[in-house]
Amino acid sequence: MIDLAAIQAEFSELQNIKLLSTTSGQKDVFQADRGTKQVALKLIKRTQSDQRTEREISAVSKLNSSYVPQIYEHGRRTVSGEERFYIIERFIVGESYGEVLRKTPVQPFKEVLRLADVLLHACVDFENVQLVHRDIKPQNLMVDADGKIWVIDFGIARHLEMTSLTPSGPFHGIGTLGYAPPEQFRNLKSEEDSRTDLFSIGVVLYQSISGSNPYLNLLPDTMAVIRLMETQDLPQLSIAEDQSGELSDFLSVLTARFPSRRPQTASEALAWFDPIYQRLR
């Protein structure tokens, strides 16, 4: 039960605190004003381990990326007698890319190119601080009022220098079915690095061009989706604006089910994509 009055009392520097209509399983997210700025206030539930929370915050606070909302403040405060972690970050006014795709499943080609450019640059920023997002999907991309694209929700980010908190060994790791690569949902930690995010980026781009996520067509049979992702690569796209097939080849490489077949780093992927972008945009 959310006690807005208690939250307002503890966060007296914020005004107009409103619970957002969507909350994840890990945290309550609010929109508020801090002076003239709109901010997002995230209160991390006590069900989540302190280590994971601190790691999320630590990882993202190290980022210096223009594609990720800036964290203004973080720490611990007591709300309704309970100590909770909190993050106050820039609030992105806009809609999720998931919502964009719901309204227009097949995106204009040039917009997809722009999206690819943003996501690959963001991935390079993550790589520079040895961070893997691990949950890139349309719902975790925001498009603001100016059309700028943001990557949000580092709730299951993995900082490669730290010991992983998601136990290896179990059949399934963490991630979103249809966007997480095989090595992630098989919890093969040693194989998770930037290539994990590159796969997810590839699937988002593929979906934006083709109009659907072909893996998710097999739902509700989750095991069928997993089997498909493990045994077959996505069919090569035929893109009218891409006569030479180089973008199509690039998407095939991003979404290769074996990490060794993808670009080995985000920097390599961006260097690969950049001349394609220059030619096709």
Partner: protein
């Protein structure tokens, strides 16, 4: 791409002659086929001829019992040490120390590490490899180290096992890989999935920026140029043109039971018994079986000058030297300046061979189980699968 000699039974004379012809070259020595003294003699001869000896430790199976193989001092350590002693125990260091002694005596400068045959690829297999790799630099004085990757036929047929090797090998501190793959057949491979996986594995290792040597190759492996492999190794008898692990269990005096002389027609990628060259002559197409001069083999010239080819005294020695000379030249010619050009060249080679084979067969000239007729589609299928898997990355990285 270059070709090294894969040493096998009775190859000392061939090695000397061919290295003289080529002005040098690499030779992968086989302890299974040579005593310690013979190893020393041939290594000296190789170096004298501007060649480079390498030593394949052939530690594929601990229970191997070929008399010559197990007579070597380093092999005795491998065989007698308990298996557990190779996982963090002293046996790894002892084995490598003895191998290093052997290497110094032979003048070896690139060191192939022992590698067990993976059946399947497993954490135990990785642990054995990685213990050796971790220990190796202490013993080989900064000289290049090549990790042996030996995969069984069953492992080779599993795409996920092959990719698991590539993924793990990315972390190995070695300068290259010596790849040995158990073939599904005694000679020409009939499984396109196996061959595709060999291409995928070799190219994946090459994309790590390391040297890749593939051992036990036949002319069917000319396709490895598209995987950007550095070196393929081949030899005289079939058991050095394909990899049969059982040869390391054979008794000392087995070796070669079938002694038929085969003529290699390089443009057909096929081999023929001499009576079929007689048939070709009667059909008026014998000249079409002559190798192109660009392959520099004069060993088969007598067959094309005689009244009938089978009347010429042309035996194993000539046949082996002809095969290896042609293959040496073909290997040098197959890699082109781009990935796509190299792939196209291989498809062209296959189409051309297919047409030639068809004409030969129409005229009664058959290669039996060394006819490349069925292997054409195996190679085509494997290449097509391989291009889809690795093509985009290889296109970008081709130098």
């Amino acid at each position: 791409m270059e070709m090294y000699l894969q040493f096998g039974h009775g190859m000392m004379g061939h090695t000397r002659e061919l290295l003289d012809n080529w002005g040098g070259g690499g030779v992968i020595l086989s302890p299974r086929d040579l005593t310690s003294d013979q190893l020393q003699r041939i290594a000296t001869d190789i170096i004298k001829r501007n060649g480079e000896p390498l030593l394949d430790p052939q530690c594929f199976a601990k229970d191997a019992d070929h008399v010559r193989l197990v007579s070597h001092d380093y092999w005795k350590i491998f065989k007698t040490s308990p298996s557990g002693a190779f996982f963090g125990g002293p046996a790894t260091a002892d084995l490598l120390k003895e191998l290093a002694v052997q290497a110094r005596l032979l003048g070896v400068r690139q060191h192939i590490l022992p590698g067990r045959l993976a059946n399947p690829v497993s954490e135990d297999w990785f642990a054995f490899q990685e213990n050796l790799i971790a220990e190796a630099p202490t013993h080989f004085g900064g000289e290049p180290i090549l990790a042996t990757i030996a995969l069984s036929n069953d492992a080779m047929r599993q795409e996920d096992q092959v990719e698991a090797v590539v993924e793990r090998a990315a972390k190995w501190n070695v300068q290259g890989f010596y790849l040995v793959a158990e073939t599904p057949t005694a000679y020409l491979v009939d499984d396109p999935g196996w061959l595709a996986n060999l291409l995928i594995l070799a190219s994946g290792l090459k994309l790590l920026g390391k040297r890749v040597i593939v051992g036990y190759c036949s002319h069917q492996m000319l396709c490895l140029a598209a995987a950007n492999v550095d070196i393929v190794a081949s030899g005289t008898w079939l058991n050095v043109r394909a990899f049969p692990p059982e040869k390391f269990y054979a008794p000392a005096d087995d070796d070669i039971s079938r002694r038929t002389t085969w003529y290699y027609c390089p443009q057909a990628l096929s081999e023929y018994r001499l009576p079929f060259l007689d048939i070709a002559q009667r059909a008026g197409i014998l000249d079409e079986m002559r190798p192109d001069p660009s392959l520099f083999s004069s060993y088969a010239d007598p067959l094309f000058r005689a009244a009938t080819p089978s009347s010429v005294i042309w035996g194993e020695q000539d046949a082996f030297r002809h095969y290896l000379t042609c293959l040496h030249s073909q290997v040098a010619q197959v890699r082109k300046s781009s990935f796509d050009a190299t792939v196209d060249e291989h498809f062209r080679l296959l189409s051309s061979a297919e047409g030639i084979i068809k004409k030969f067969r129409q005229n009664g000239v058959f290669g039996g189980d060394r006819d490349f007729k069925d292997a054409v589609d195996v190679n085509r299928s494997a290449m097509t699968t391989f291009v889809k898997a690795r093509g985009p990355r290889l296109r970008r990285s081709w130098l």
